[in-house]
């Protein structure tokens, strides 16, 4: 019976995020939030491992006011319970502070066999939380995992590195970070979406996991000063013609006029 903690981050839906044409700043207020894509695959990994034996999948997230709604998707996919650390005083802290909070939450959750997260959250792209958590908990880390299976108190995984696929074995507990290629996350059935609302969800503040929000905040070192989308300046010509042959001829003309054939 494996107890698996999955680390999930809810982020703005990147396909719906717009950029202010004047300031070039992304507009994140009011945009729908969802579980970051690779984290979702970490959750799918955990659910599959649970299904291949017996166990429990616990979703853990440090988030904000929208996290509870975003995590319903995790419960609908098959997580058994969700725990959220939501403390306004922690808004905007860095990966170091986030890992400290997650460590405290993991310890509060009690015994576990495995902690799984995604390689990186797609908003911050910082790729730090899993290795940091492993260090803080004194656990081995197995990153860039694209295949995984559990044995008796052990784990075997294939790591996707630049030059090799590395097959590794490690005793549990351990921290695992998966890559996009590990699986395709399932789409929950309507029935499971209904059931999700009845699954246990708990929200904690920093104090509830035994931390002082001020101290955690003070330990945060990296601060975001500015975020800006680079200017896109494209012609955006949509080629229109009655037949596809004519459209292709127009495209060929365009390619010639752009000097692509000049050598």
């Amino acid at each position: 019976m494996a107890r698996i903690i999955v680390l999930l981050k809810d982020i703005v839906d990147l396909t719906e995020m717009k950029v202010d044409p004047e300031t070039r700043q992304p507009k994140t207020e009011g945009v729908k939030r969802k579980i970051s894509e690779v984290d979702k695959r970490a959750l799918e990994t955990a659910i599959k491992l649970k299904e291949s034996g017996e166990g429990e999948v616990i979703a853990l997230s440090m988030g904000g006011s929208g996290t509870r709604t975003a995590l319903l998707a995790a419960l609908a996919m098959g997580a058994d319970a969700a725990y959220i650390i939501n403390d306004e005083a922690l808004a905007g802290v860095d990966a170091l502070a986030t890992s400290k909070v997650l460590k405290a939450a993991v310890e509060k959750l009690g015994d576990y066999d495995l902690i799984i997260g995604g390689e990186m959250a797609l908003d911050s792209l910082s790729a730090q939380v899993c290795p940091r958590l492993a260090e803080l908990l004194g656990l081995p880390q197995v990153t860039y995992v694209k295949e995984i299976e559990l044995g008796e108190g052990t784990l075997r995984a294939v790591r996707d590195l630049e030059d090799v696929d590395e097959v590794v074995e490690v005793d549990l507990p351990a921290v695992v970070a998966v890559v996009r290629e590990v699986n395709e996350p399932r789409i929950p059935s309507l029935m499971n979406i209904m059931k999700a609302k009845r699954k246990p969800t708990e929200e904690w503040d920093a104090e509830a996991v035994g931390l002082s929000a001020e101290e955690v905040k003070a330990s945060s070192s990296v601060e975001v000063l500015k975020v800006e989308a680079p200017k896109v300046d494209r012609k955006r010509i949509v080629i229109k013609a009655d037949t596809i042959e004519d459209a292709v001829l127009q495209l060929a003309e365009a390619i010639v006029s752009e000097g692509v054939l000049e050598r």
Partner: protein, 318 residues
């Protein structure tokens, strides 16, 4: 606190790029640049002084033959002790990034991932620019507590010319922990250089291609245009049809002409082609995002469009 810079990468080419930037940062702080080498039977530790490294800290042990994050972390902590850095630069390979995060946690300090620019501000803090929101934005971040750690991807900074520098070699005595993660097999990957990064013309395939054989269509077009052939991540990472892909997690390209064929244009892909001069998209879905960032869009089935385009271009060339 000392004003030194410590650089590490297990990738030698990238390490030298780090040294170029590291020297600049060390000079602006009035400190020295030092470098860490970890491995087994290291023979070329003398070479790095040419790039301005004062101390080359060497952790040489059979236990370091293969990269293991926990063992390398021990070497790193020794190097930090021996060189007292204010700034730590680590090459942002996959291994480098997991090491940087673990070292940062051990040193209880911050880390900025994959910095594209770096400078020291008036307060002596490290300021970096990096991609966020899946690659659609550039964030400026500051690390407020030393030691400041930044990882740096390949080609963010130029490779410096070697000079005349002299440095010393310091041997680190590291006790290597028994590896908890045991490597039972290493399967080498074929990952050649597809020559995309400097290519002036690139035609690129996405999941709109139904079968590997169909890529012949694109290859034929590439022949006509004297182009290199690239692809989106699923074509390479899921299907294995090509060795490498274009995008935020793959190659970043900046050709004069980029043709995206059967590619939907997700943020992650677009982040790798943004510096192209002209982008053309062929996609049967009129609402595909790729059209939003293209100079010319053709809405149509690539299986009809490509043969006709090849024929039309051949006629133009004559």
């Amino acid at each position: 606190m000392a004003q030194n810079v410590l650089a590490f990468s297990e990738d030698r080419g990238l390490l030298i790029q780090l040294l170029g930037k590291g020297k600049e940062l060390a000079d602006s702080l009035g400190g020295e640049l030092n470098v860490l080498l970890v491995g087994s039977n290291i023979s070329d530790s003398g070479e790095l002084a040419q790039y301005g490294s004062k101390k080359t800290l060497v952790a040489d042990d059979p236990g370091f033959e293969h990269f293991s994050v926990e063992a390398y972390k021990e070497a790193f902590l020794k190097a930090v002790e021996a060189s007292d850095p204010r700034i730590i630069l680590i090459g942002a390979t996959k291994r480098g990034k997991e090491l940087a995060a673990r070292v940062a946690a051990a040193l209880d300090t911050g880390c900025m991932t994959e910095c594209l620019s770096l400078e020291v501000d008036e307060e002596g803090n490290l300021v970096g620019e990096r991609l966020t929101y899946a690659g659609s934005t550039i964030a400026t971040e500051v690390s407020r507590r030393a030691p400041h750690i930044a990882t740096i991807p390949s080609r963010a900074f130029e490779t410096p010319e070697p000079g005349e520098g002299v440095g010393e070699i310091v041997t680190l005595d590291v006790s290597i922990p028994e590896p908890r993660v045991k490597v039972v097999e290493r399967r080498d990957k074929v990952k050649g250089d597809m020559g995309l990064e400097g290519a002036p013309i690139i035609v690129s395939a996405g999941r709109g291609f139904k079968a590997k054989e169909d890529l012949k269509l694109l290859e034929e077009l590439a022949g006509v245009l004297e182009a290199k052939v690239g692809c989106s991540r699923p074509i390479s990472a899921d299907l294995g049809w090509m060795e490498d892909w274009i995008g935020i997690s793959g190659r970043k390209v900046s050709p004069k002409f980029y043709l995206a064929c059967g590619i939907s244009g997700t943020i992650q892909h677009v982040a790798g082609i943004r510096d192209s001069q002209i982008i053309v998209s062929i996609n049967e879905d009129a609402n595909a995002n790729i059209h939003e960032i293209s100079d010319y869009s053709l809405v149509g089935d690539l299986y009809t469009v490509l043969p006709a385009l090849i024929k039309a271009l051949k006629e133009k060339i004559g």
